[in-house]
Amino acid sequence: MGTTKLPLEGIRVLDITLVWAGPYATQMLADWGAEVIRLEPIDHFQPMARGQRARVSKAEITADTDWHNAYPDWDPTDMPWNRTPSFNVHARNKKSMTVNLGAPGGQEVFQRLFHVADVLIENNVPTTADKLGISYERARKINPGFIMVRMPGFGLQGPYRTYRTLGSHIDGVSGHASLRGYPELGLEFQTDIFYSDAAGGINCALAVLMALRYRQRTGKGQMIELAQVENFTSYISDVNMDRLANGRVQRTLGNRHRTMVPHGCYPCRGDDEWVVIAVENEEQWDALCRAMGNPNWTADRKFASYISRYEHQNELDALILDWTRTFNKGEVMRMLQRVGVPSGQVSNHAEVSRDPQLRYRNFFQWVDMPGTGKHEYPSIIGRLSETPNAIRTPPPRLGEHNEYVYKQLLGYTDSEYWQFEEMGHIGDAYHAHVE
């Protein structure tokens, strides 16, 4: 790493987020230099913050080996909260302090934090945030330049303001779930998708960057509201405009495309091996035919024009898959890319982890996290030519930065620190009764 300052150095962010949308926002800010401090309770377990539950046994994990249970070597140890991939993947470059905002003493600590921070981000239900003392008015009185982002599911106002959701539910509300999946099967055969978490996260980070620019110009801070259902709905604008302007209700097309043909996911040699092919225009169609060796059927008048190919997609797909299944998926991709036809192999997580393009660009980075071990993590997204960047610190263990925050940042004395410890605010583990 060079000595170039990261663009967000000097900005301090209070992070009261859980699950993924909020944490992804603070990942973006931490990755580009902000000091992100997670405020974490230890008198109860925040749902889906550091794993599914506070304490889990190795036997339980072994019985249900799944990605969300993927503690290193399938061993949760007695500190599973430090080892869960769904937390550790976004927490690099962040700091962790423990404080119980709802318990006596918690609000005093919170008050001091407002004095030393620039930004607060939270994604709780508005009623929960109220109880925790999260309020823009409070922050503004202490610091007029303060920036606060609140990102509840349905908004701070409106009939659903108290409603609770996760990314999977937002995927349904926004209409996205009805636009994916197999056309001939019911919606109950859908895989849960959490795209709205990613969308909410980066829009929130973008809003913070905009507010920082505004603050630099005017000296003023502000309050930002991001209703996650609305935010994600903007990603599928065309379908809703088609409804509003034309009265049409679009449904899932599976792997087909509204305009491209052929467009699909075709089997290749081997077990569960697939390649995606997406033909945009006449030139690419001709190139695909050449790559397949111009078999006779390509001259059939059924496939002579775009319109007739569109009308005969079932037959066309069956003929194409006869060709794809005689090759490895990587071979099909390379053969087609060589002649300018968009195609890509369906990679599993092992294949993505050794993908030549991602490897060439050093997309993965080794990170050594004490107690968790040394592993390769997906690294920083986006490259700036004049500002080299990489993961600087491993994901924080629960309460790892308590001393730094309480003493150095907030100015508490050793004996006050000890008192907060006695009161159950400070620790590196959840209280013994927490499940």
Partner: protein, 407 residues
């Protein structure tokens, strides 16, 4: 604050952006900046931007001005035409670069340098310029000139393999979601670069790879990649032909009840079956996390849901503090009372009186707010304003540029 004042006091009122992109991610990037006050100049080829011809069209009448994508993506922007593949056009583009803070493009990595318009050239003309390049696979590497599409991004970043049924082919996401995401990510990185530029006085070339932003996406992809690194576990597609997914059928629609650890006690409360909490499958937290207890719970829940309209089931679930959401199509979504109460669907009107409704703000900034200032530009609408006003050309010079086909 009056609306007029609000417009001069948007978060990005001091930012000028030149959009020479030709694809959805570039237009999304500059749209969100324009919505919060940036002066975005969309430079289209004289034949029109390719996104003008993406269907659907308003009232199903195809024209250069009626594509819903183009209309939605280009509100609040000013539009010019410019053929920068010509010598004169190239010169004009570089003059515009001198007047801009940010340039956004979506060409393949070799295109702009081959036209003599690469980052180095732009930087020579404007040392503080930020050039944001959004590409399929990034500016470097063995796939840097590869073609791609929405489904290919999904396929090559890992999650498509885990989407769909184990007995079937992997299945993609809905239309263009990843490209919209790439646009917002590019806007974020552009703003980060601009912040660095303001502090240091040097420009930046932002290299945005759509494959990478999808491989690093918290839509589950990045967590599953780390799970693989931790354990070697590869997440595949599931088999739930017999039920067991999160989407449940109601009398007249579907409700998503993707569960968390508190679902079962809250759910039994909603069903009026709290006495079942004593049963071994439900009585401890550990038991309730087992797949068998969820199967048992679903068997109690599903008949109850089938008897109720989805709106009633949704209200009951939320009343019991259960994480949930209806599965809407566009008809149900555009009628939803929460979106309506919050005035989410603004009407955008053209000078000819034509009106169209569309999705509104992705978020609201209470200082420097979101605003709908003007509809998407017609082709070349602001040529005189920009070539005359910003670059200082006379009317005669502008009409000569038109005659030779540069604008």
């Amino acid at each position: 604050m009056s609306e007029a004042n609000a417009l001069h006091d948007q978060a990005l009122s001091d930012l000028r952006v030149l959009d020479i992109s030709r694809r959805i991610p570039g237009h999304v990037c500059t749209k969100v900046l324009a919505d919060f006050g940036a002066d975005v100049i969309l430079a289209e080829p004289p034949t029109g931007d390719p996104t003008r011809s993406i269907n659907p069209f308003i009232e199903d009448l195809p024209s250069a001005e009626s594509g819903v994508y183009f209309r939605y993506l280009n509100n609040n922007k000013r539009g010019i035409t410019l053929d920068f593949e010509t010598t004169t056009g190239r010169k004009l583009l570089l003059e515009l670069v001198e007047c801009a803070d940010l340039v956004v493009e979506t060409f393949s990595p070799s295109t702009l340098p081959s036209l003599g318009l690469g980052y180095q050239t732009m930087k020579e003309r404007n040392p503080r310029i930020v050039l944001t390049s959004v590409t399929n696979f990034g500016q470097s590497g063995p796939y840097s000139e590869y073609q791609a599409s929405e489904a290919i991004y999904y396929a090559m970043s890992g999650l498509m393999n885990a989407t769909g049924l184990a007995s079937r082919e992997p299945v993609k996401l809905g239309p263009n979601v990843i490209q919209f995401h790439a646009g917002i990510m590019s806007a974020l990185h552009s703003m980060i670069a601009l912040r660095g530029t303001a502090a240091r006085g040097v420009g930046e070339h932002v290299d945005e790879s759509i494959q990478e932003l999808q491989a690093g996406s918290i839509d589950r992809t990045s967590a599953m990649l780390l799970a693989y690194q931790y354990t070697g576990f590869i997440t595949g597609r599931e088999n739930f032909e017999g039920g067991g997914g999160s989407i449940h059928q109601c009398k007249d629609g579907y409700l998503n009840m993707f569960p968390d650890a508190t679902m079962i006690p809250k759910g039994l409360n909603m069903l009026g079956m709290t006495e079942l909490m004593e049963e071994p499958l439900f009585s401890t937290m550990e038991a309730r996390s087992m797949p068998e207890s969820h199967e048992y719970f679903d068997a109690l829940l599903n008949p109850w849901l089938l008897e109720r309209p989805v709106t009633e089931a949704f209200a009951a679930a939320q009343g019991a503090r259960i994480l949930s959401g209806p599965v809407y199509n566009s008809a149900l979504l555009t009628a939803d009372p929460n979106f309506r109460a919050r005035a989410y669907w603004p009407t955008v009107e053209r000078s000819n009186g034509e009106k169209v409704r569309m999705p509104g703000k992705s978020f609201q900034m209470y200082g420097g707010p979101w605003a709908m200032r003007r509809p998407a530009p017609t082709l070349g609408q602001h040529n005189a304003e920009i070539y005359g006003g910003i670059l200082g050309f006379s009317k005669e010079e502008i009409s000569t540029l038109k005659q030779v086909g540069v604008i």
